[in-house]
Symmetry: C2
Subunit: 187 residues, 2 copies
Amino acid sequence: MKTDTLPTRDRLIRAAADLFRRRGYHGVGMAELLEAAQAPKGSLYHHFPNGKSDLALAAASWASDGMTAVIDASFAEATDFPDGVRTLCHKVAKFFDLSGQAEGCPITATLLDGPENAEFRQHAAGLMANWVDTTTAHGVRLGLSEAEARSASEHMLLLLQGGWTVARSQANSDVLRSLPDRLTLPH
Amino acid sequence: MKTDTLPTRDRLIRAAADLFRRRGYHGVGMAELLEAAQAPKGSLYHHFPNGKSDLALAAASWASDGMTAVIDASFAEATDFPDGVRTLCHKVAKFFDLSGQAEGCPITATLLDGPENAEFRQHAAGLMANWVDTTTAHGVRLGLSEAEARSASEHMLLLLQGGWTVARSQANSDVLRSLPDRLTLPH
């Protein structure tokens, strides 16, 4: 993606989301972040007063919004809930392959491998809850009861998180494509 | 656990397994590792010629063996495969609580948040495959076909990995206790 015409703040967020997702919060240094974002040295603390940790929260939110858009796109044309789940898992597998089998969950890599603090964890939990809410709403629109849709969406989140982890260890996206078969789907 | 009477190599492995599991490979510095292990400065490279990365591989193997022992203990007295799965998930939830809701998968935190290299990934994939093999063998012993047992064990690994991730974000072990209900178990 061509990002050099974006404002500095956006360039910082996108560079951080990309680098944290590949190597984790602790695996990325400030100099590297600034260089990837083509951002001047003073700009980080100008836009993010608490520096790297503020940037991580913003980067996780941005990356999570991207995932929400993928969920919406997957279910937009779906004929039923299982159809949407299949499309979602195939899209996730494709993104994983495009990233060189390197990119797992954008929330986890950024927020759960960072400092053990409550703010990071709560932010991660809130973003994951958004995914579940989004998927649940699609399930209800496609005819499931609220309880069925929520249970299936929670199961989906667990499988997706597990699938990202196992796919990264295997450097292979097959496990992500197999997730729909694991999900106990309402008929 | 009292470790100060163990040989230096074992103290290094245990300290590394504990620290990496909590904060990831990149989140732990060498000085901190040596101090936690009460190990003299020269001892790391004496026992692990490639330093931190060799130690991470050994620590992940050691922690993975501990998990295999938990799997074996969970299935030892099980009346059937679902019973073993329930015991396993409750034990994992209990360990998670005892660690202050901080410790997820010992393999993932050590090897997938470290350098993006093939050796770390292959080692992680091999250790996870061992867990699946161990669980599959218990399933077969308890009357499942090889294919049923393997499929259920692979699903179990995905749920466990997803469960650790979600539990860490929520700082709550409930999701780990709910995993058996998610698993499509052979009857």
